[in-house]
Amino acid sequence: MKKSPAPSEVYLEGVFQLRGRDFVDAGLVSSRIKNSLKNKGVPEDTIRKIAVIAFETEINIISYAKEGTISFYLLPDRVVIEAEDSGEGIENIEMALQEGFSTADDSIREMGFGAGMGLPNIRKFSDDFEIVSEPGRGTYLKSSVMLNGNYRAKDDQDDNA
């Protein structure tokens, strides 16, 4: 799969492993990323966007992949969510990005997901969005939310104090 390079490891804040069909803890990665960004003093608006992106990414992996990882990075100007999975992949990305398009089964629908809003939501809340998929192999997704200059890392503030 052709994809742009990941951000430098220096900015890596966490990596989470997920298994397909393991719905019990769905949403946990989103909560953890949110807590971590709160502790770093990232603005609430940015955190909410990232939490939504992480949540939908998590549900996608659990619903459609065998296994996958979600990594998140905190750069000086942005937060980046990166996800890679091995699974069925996406046949037609253009279609998957349309609101309402879904290949979900009933079990996913009864969970409150599978209405074809996952990828559209991720794209909607991202300032920068990239997705590459190979049917039968897996999907790679990278999403960034900019910090708009409002953010100064807590560490920096401490230094100045």
Binding site: E99, G100, R109, E110, G112, A115
Partner: protein, 114 residues
Amino acid sequence: MTTLETIVETLGLKCKCCWEKLKTEVKGGYAGDLLSDVMANSKEHDVWVTRQVHQNIVAVASLKEHAGIIIVQGAQPDSDTLAKAQKEGIPVIVTELSEFEVVGRIYKLLHEQD
């Protein structure tokens, strides 16, 4: 008596099919997106408010004898859904309003009649 037509006109909603059935009486309402819940709990002559758009909603509405379906939040019914609704004679109505707002207004209309 509150009809679908009263609701459509008062709230400024848009009917997508089965206009001829808008005179149907609405006796109550059901809001929800989980089809199994709708099957279990809704009643005949309810107007069903949802944001599900796939064609299964028509089968549910038809089976439960709903007065009609209102699809909220600007979601658009699939073409299969409309074709099936036309066949089954279930009015499908759309709106940009959120589920809470649409339900609140219909609830008020239904209770003003009391």
